[in-house]
Amino acid sequence: MLNSLSGKPWIWSFAATVIVWVVTVLFTGGSSSLGLTQAALTFAAFSVVVGIGQMFVITLGPGNIDLSVPATMTLSGTVALKVMDVQDSMILLGLILAIAIGIAIGVANFALIKLLRIPPIIATLSMSFIVQSSAIWTNRGLRIKPPEALADFSTSYTLGVPNVAIVAAALSVIAWVLLEKTIYGRWISAIGQSPFAARMAGIPVDGTRFITYVLCAVLASLCGYLLASFSGGAALNMGAEYLLMSIAVVVIGGTAVAGGNSNVPGIWGASLFMFLVVSMLNTYGFGAGVRLILTGLIIIGVILAAGGKPAAR
């Protein structure tokens, strides 16, 4: 029993999520439960999408991280909305463009990492500055509205479930299959444990890492596209929140930071948790200082309960 629990580190983030949800809903005697759930699903969706990409990268092993996520979101959101220019007929083109931007950034990130041997953390940080400048340069931060149909889609619900959450769920399923069922999933896990052993086991290590960085950037750009459509326009700072968030949901969700081990359900648990904690503390009317402190303590509490790695025996 205990064993099967500790084998599923994501359990804890869900347990914490449920507790925080209950505590928040109690405040209104239960009347807020539907609204809160829908809001949580909506906003968790964005963290999930970027979180999945970040998880793949983190799985590649120590030092692998993508700090260009926020800038990528901003650039793809800005450019896509500018190109679509409020016309419904351009929605698909905008999406393709956003994905293309993601691919380009992913390629550039990996080029820096591989060709110039720059450690990923600095490579992606430097790249994020360049991408951010590009976003400024494209339209100087003007907020252009999304096409009507796209805005409607991203802000409405299907059977009570927010559409963006459905999109994120679909992406999660794909990610889960990739990770658990495909050769690619095995490969990134192997590389995360020992790139050299992976190479000697016949894995095309560079090819796999390349795909992974591109995948992460594409998910970030997709998230930028969705978020800009959802919130009525792209802003130059719209990705800022998602730098820490994308990392936090991955690690709180139980993915081993040392790489080689990752899990998709945990990202959902952690994303919902991160949203609900802030909502709970806001609901109970704590000021910013106390709220920050409690958020931190709750995160530490969750990880303490989850108890880290089981000892090596």
Binding site: V177, K181, T182, I183, Y184, R186, S189, A190, Q193, S194, F196, A197, A198, R199, M200, A201, G202, I203, P204, V205, D206, G207, F210, A256, G260, N261, A312, R313
Partner: protein, 487 residues
């Protein structure tokens, strides 16, 4: 037993039981070591040798039984074992690769403190190294990660034998020669005799029965967590030892008669320099790479492998497979199960439409588990739950499970027990018969002599090429040392 009565008991483990989950690693084992003797400890892979070592050195506390150090029976633990003069050279290398040799000595010797410890550490280790391995060429100011695996092993041995204030009473050597070539192994064994002669004691674990027989005063044989024999070394010879361990003794295999079926080599590497020779491999051959350790054999294998395997694109049919010798560096994936470690190189054939077929994966790995006897109740257990030798078998199975026509082996039998070795040799032959080519770097002369052809390496180049009946210990040694060794 009678001749040891006069000697003092250094450590005594009695009735020790240790279980890892369902696996009884030690099932009531007794081991007593007295001063002035070298005890040889042998047994199949997973017999419990490393486990009893961990009990003696205090890292593991047994679930049952007692450990006493010269009568001191206080609660066990690493600190007490060390205080009682127990030192241990572990099966997997346990230096800190990022530190210098002196810094490692500082960590291993709590009493090396005080001013100028760095200088004294270097002196200490270099003196000890010269004592054990007289003509070593290790720069004692180096960082450990700049050393070859053999050099690391030598350094670790030297650090453990070295004495700062108090000399070690018992030095445990868990497969100390697995990465050393015959010459270095010989020097170590000679030193062990001298150390024992001066009143120290040594617990020697090895799968190379020759060195056990020649070096030990007493031999303890373990099987499935129990001690099955504990007798004077003179009462054993190879045959009786192997039989006691529970393996069937076989005559030394006859050299295979290899007729070259096709005249075009499937692999060919031109000579790199004037002193070098062309390297060729034909279908169905077993080719040995010989010479002293660290003379470029591993590098040659790595070069061959890396040039044949794309780092960018996945391939359906790998041309080559690789069996690592340095498990920790380029072999195992520590977070994974045995199963995943085994199947990683052959996933293409185990999947349909890019999705891995779990059932087929299970089936294939069960097949290999039986075929080379991987000792585990369940292939889904973590790889690190296997004993060292069994982990090595998994790496073997990983390579053989691929469809690669060429298998490169980097001294792959390190720490594999004799029974298994013979089975693996049989598998190699069968595979070679069916057309696979093996390129095999080995530090064991017996293995080199099993090869159809042998390239002898010296200073990073091929110094000699031996074929058929010319493959012999004398010829290999001659080629290893010939020429420029003026110094």
């Amino acid at each position: 037993m009678d001749n040891a009565v006069l000697n003092q008991e250094v450590v005594a483990a009695r009735g020790v039981k240790v279980a890892f989950g369902a696996v009884k690693a030690l099932d009531g084992a007794d081991l007593v070591i007295r001063s002035g003797e070298c005890v040889g400890l042998v047994g199949h892979n997973g017999a419990g040798k490393s486990t009893i070592v961990n009990v003696i050195n205090g890292a593991l506390s047994p679930q049952e039984g007692s450990v006493a150090y010269g009568g001191d029976t206080a609660s066990p633990g690493i600190a007490r074992a060390r205080a009682n003069g127990v030192r241990c050279v572990f099966q997997e290398l346990s230096l800190c690769p990022n530190l210098t040799i002196a810094e490692n000595a500082r960590i291993m010797h709590g009493d090396l403190g005080g001013g100028r410890w760095r200088r004294r550490g270097i002196d200490l280790v270099s003196k000890q190294l010269s004592d054990i391995f007289p003509d070593h060429r290790i720069d004692c100011a180096s960082v450990v990660e700049d050393l070859s695996i053999a050099e690391r092993q030598m350094v670790e041995i030297a650090i453990n034998f070295a004495a700062v204030s108090a000399a070690p009473k018992l030095v445990i050597l868990d497969e100390p020669t697995s990465s050393l070539d015959a010459a270095l192994a010989g020097q170590l064994m000679a030193y062990v005799r001298r150390f024992v002669g001066s009143g120290g004691s040594v617990l020697l674990i090895s799968h190379i029965l020759g060195e056990i027989l020649s070096t030990s005063d007493r031999i303890v044989v373990m099987k499935d967590g129990k001690v099955v024999a504990d007798r004077d070394a003179r009462q054993f010879d190879t045959r009786r030892l192997v039989e006691t361990m529970g393996s069937v003794v076989r005559e030394r295999a006859e050299r295979r008669v290899f007729g070259r079926k096709r005249r075009t080599p499937i692999l060919s590497v031109p000579a790199a320099s004037a002193s070098d020779m062309r390297f060729e491999a034909f279908e169905g051959e077993i080719i040995g790479l010989a010479g002293l350790g660290g003379h470029g054999q591993t590098e040659a294998l790595l070069d061959l492998y890396l040039s044949a395997n794309s780092n960018w694109l996945p391939v359906r049919e790998p041309k080559m497979a690789f069996v690592a010798g340095d498990r920790g560096l380029n072999g195992t994936f520590p977070l994974w199960s045995i199963l995943k470690n085994l199947s990683i190189s052959s996933l293409k054939t185990l999947s349909s439409r890019n999705l891995i077929d779990a059932e087929q994966e299970d089936r294939v790995s069960e097949g290999w588990k039986k075929r080379i006897e991987i000792r585990t109740p369940n292939m889904h257990n973590p790889i690190l739950s296997l004993s060292g030798g069994n982990q090595q078998k998994v790496l073997f199975a990983r390579a053989l499970a691929t469809s690669a026509k060429v298998v490169l082996m980097d001294d792959p039998m390190r720490g594999v027990d004799i029974g298994t070795k013979q089975e693996v040799y049989d598998i190699l032959r069968a595979e070679a018969e069916s057309g696979r080519t093996f390129i095999w770097y080995s530090t064991e002369m017996d293995e080199i002599c099993l090869c159809d052809r042998v390239y002898v390496f010296r200073d990073g180049t091929i110094a000699a090429h031996l074929t058929g009946e010319d493959v012999s210990e004398e010829n290999v040694l001659a080629a290893s040392f010939a020429g420029g060794e003026a110094a």
